[in-house]
């Protein structure tokens, strides 16, 4: 009896070592393996050979019974149950591994297709377990359990070290706790990439646009005359500030509701610099309510410099730029209040706006102010077009700063932008023809990743 127990324990340890126990979940799989192994070795009569029986050359019924009971007890303790009560699911199909492309390293992608017993088959699989090890045999640890519901699965293991070999083991699991035959794949090595291979098209586009912008800036600096089409909204800036001066009322300037990390806000603050110069020249009161503290600092600096440049530093006071609140509708309420109390003659909306755009523009309209708006938010443009006298649409907002100064370098950049736009139109026209005739390579090339 003692020998048989030692034999089972000893062999179990050997088998556990062979398989490699890295996680308690794996013990249940090991239970299955033990069961198979013991069955095979029992059929070979290996465990029935005690020294006494070997001498007599016969197999006694007691050890056989004992071993069967021991295996069943062991299997039950491991949560496996009797072989007849468990239906083993099919393993995951077509598993594959690769280093995650275009990343900073430290990640491996594991993909597989659903087991035949997933929802497409018998529907008994309800999860997949992913195990990882640095060796092909042994040392596997459970790193993830993924629920079923798809035809193809992707798991990204982002807890690996670069330049180290990894093996993965995939197992399908049923609701009753039965596991499929484990599938071991590997090795795979994670590494960081020096270039994002899906972004060649973006790099090319950036180089073309940058080259054309820089070329026209260079040409403008050499004295080449550049024609920029008149933009009604920008031509009206002088007139609008002049009107406020004549009426003795302030100019209200709102540089959007987003922060300085938005290019529309930068464009809005740039235009504010031009408008502030005009108000400084005409000594017209200027009021700039803002909804972001960083914008407040930038706008204060911009207005202050504009007043200094024009030679009217005394006319500047920091209260011209005032912070109201970060809250969208709180800001709208605050600006509406300013409009109704101060009744500005001219209102500028230059930057990024959301739902508050119409609330502000309609209030401005109700007080009879001349309103000039500019934004690249397509969903707000109809509101501004409806409620304002002039609207700068999309790119016109970004051109405004250059347009108002007349600086040849800035105007050159607008011309370069137009060349890029011409190229975009050419690509669209060519793309329409290619797609119509079933050629998709241009569309695929231009796809942004």
């Amino acid at each position: 009896m003692a020998f048989a127990v030692n034999l089972i324990i000893g062999h179990s340890v050997a088998v556990l070592t062979e398989i490699g126990v890295g996680d308690i979940r794996e013990v249940r799989i090991i239970g299955w393996r033990l069961e198979k192994l013991f069955s095979r070795k029992m059929s070979e009569g290996k465990y029935l050979l005690t020294p006494k029986w070997r001498r007599s050359g016969r197999s006694g019924p007691v050890p056989v019974l004992f071993l069967a009971v021991a295996i069943l007890v062991m299997g039950a303790s491991l949560g496996v149950g009797t072989p007849s009560s468990v239906i083993r699911p099919g393993p995951p199909v077509n598993p594959s591994l690769c280093d995650r492309p275009n990343d900073a390293g430290g990640a491996i992608e594991i993909t597989w297709e659903a087991s035949h017993d997933d929802s497409r088959g018998r529907g008994i699989v309800n999860s997949y377990s992913v195990f990882r090890s640095t060796e092909a045999v042994g040392g596997f640890a459970n790193i993830a359990t993924i629920n079923t519901g798809r035809d193809r699965y992707l798991y990204v293991d982002d807890r690996v070290k670069d330049d180290e070999r990894y093996f993965y083991k995939l197992v399908a699991e049923t609701g009753s706790g039965a596991f499929s035959e484990p599938i071991v794949i590997g090795p795979v090595v994670s590494s960081a990439q020096w270039f994002h291979s899906d972004r060649w098209n973006m790099l090319l586009a950036l180089l073309i646009v940058s080259a054309s912008v820089l070329l026209f800036i260079w040409m403008a600096r050499r004295g080449k005359e550049l024609y920029i089409r008149p933009i009604a909204g920008l031509q009206a800036v002088d007139e609008a500030v002049g009107r406020a001066t004549e009426m003795g009322r302030p100019v209200l300037y709102i540089p959007g509701i987003l922060d300085m990390d938005d290019v529309q806000t930068i464009a809005g603050v740039a235009i504010l610099g031009r408008v502030a110069r005009k108000t400084a020249e005409y000594e017209t009161p200027l009021s700039v309510p803002v909804s972001r503290s960083v914008v407040m600092s930038a706008a204060q600096e911009t207005v202050k410099e504009a007043y200094w440049d024009v030679g009217k530093p005394d006319a500047y006071h920091p209260e011209m730029v005032r912070y109201l609140t970060d809250d969208q509708f709180g800001f709208a309420a605050g600006v509406d209040g300013i409009m109704l109390r101060e009744r500005p003659a001219t209102v500028f909306f230059m930057g990024a706006f959301y739902a508050e755009s119409l609330i502000l523009a309609e209030t401005g309209h109700s007080i009879g102010a001349v309103q000039i708006a500019g934004t690249a938010m397509t969903s707000q443009l109809p509101f501004f077009v409806t409620a304002c006298d002039y609207t700068l649409i999309g790119e016109e907002l970004f051109a405004a700063g250059a347009y108002l100064t007349g600086d040849p370098r800035l105007l050159g950049s607008l011309k370069g932008q137009d060349v890029a736009k011409g190229l975009a139109i050419a690509f669209i026209v060519i793309g329409i023809f290619l797609e119509s005739f079933g050629y998709h390579w241009l569309k695929d090339f231009l796809k942004v990743n």
Binding site: E305, L358, F398
Partner: protein, 213 residues
């Protein structure tokens, strides 16, 4: 020097952000989140500046007894009522004074402002839909079709038309084809504008946001 240092910082940060878009390898891949976190830290400190500006402005208004200075008292009271409990009495968790004020004062006031939008849309639509020019007439027709097509009555009054030609389908077509085409054209123009503006800022050609010409 006072202007050169911000320009150098802008150039380095701008160039780094472009490079990190194409190079995922360390350290470039980490740069985006690093800069974003740095910006958030700066913005958090700038918030103090904003609150100081607001408080100073309104205290001055109250002191000078400028017109409608009573509103400044209300504003400062509101600021204190939210800030003091949020910082010192129970924090901003659920079932605190801050949470009570947020749910019962702040949120309803926000909702009120947002609700005003419906009335402003009505008044703006009234002006926009006056068919005095060809453009305005086209806008009126398109708006009419979309409004009707989005409501059950649209299909009810066009029941006699074959499937695919009813008001809702026509409204969907207007939104999906001419409207989307127009929006995409504006977005592409804006995209190029953003690239050109960014280049001007990175290269230091556009300096007006720093207060310069």
């Amino acid at each position: 020097m006072r202007r050169d240092i911000p320009l150098i910082i802008t150039f380095v940060c701008g160039l780094t952000m472009i490079v990190q878009f194409f190079i995922p390898h360390w350290p470039f891949g980490e740069m985006k989140s690093y800069f974003q976190q740095s910006y958030m830290i700066i913005a958090a400190f700038a918030m103090i500046l904003g609150i100081c500006n607001l408080t100073k402005l309104h205290l001055k208004k109250i002191r000078d007894k400028r017109s409608q200075w009573g509103y400044s008292i209300v504003l400062l009271f509101g600021l204190a009522a939210m800030t003091i409990p949020g910082l010192f009495i129970g924090g901003i968790k659920e079932d605190t004074i801050f949470d009570f004020l947020f749910r019962n004062a702040h949120v309803p006031m926000q909702a009120t402002m947002f609700s005003l939008l419906a009335f402003f849309v009505a008044s703006a639509s009234y002006r926009a839909f006056r068919a005095r020019t060809l453009d305005a007439a086209l806008l009126l027709i398109a708006g009419f079709v979309v409004i009707l097509g989005r409501a059950p009555i649209g299909d009810s009054i066009t029941w006699f038309l074959p499937e695919g030609y009813r008001m809702s389908e026509f409204a969907n077509w207007i939104m999906a084809v001419p409207n989307t085409a127009g929006q995409r054209a504006i977005m592409m123009g804006s995209g190029l504008g953003i690239v050109a503006t960014s280049l001007r800022v990175i290269l230091g050609i556009e300096r007006s946001y720093l207060g310069g010409e």
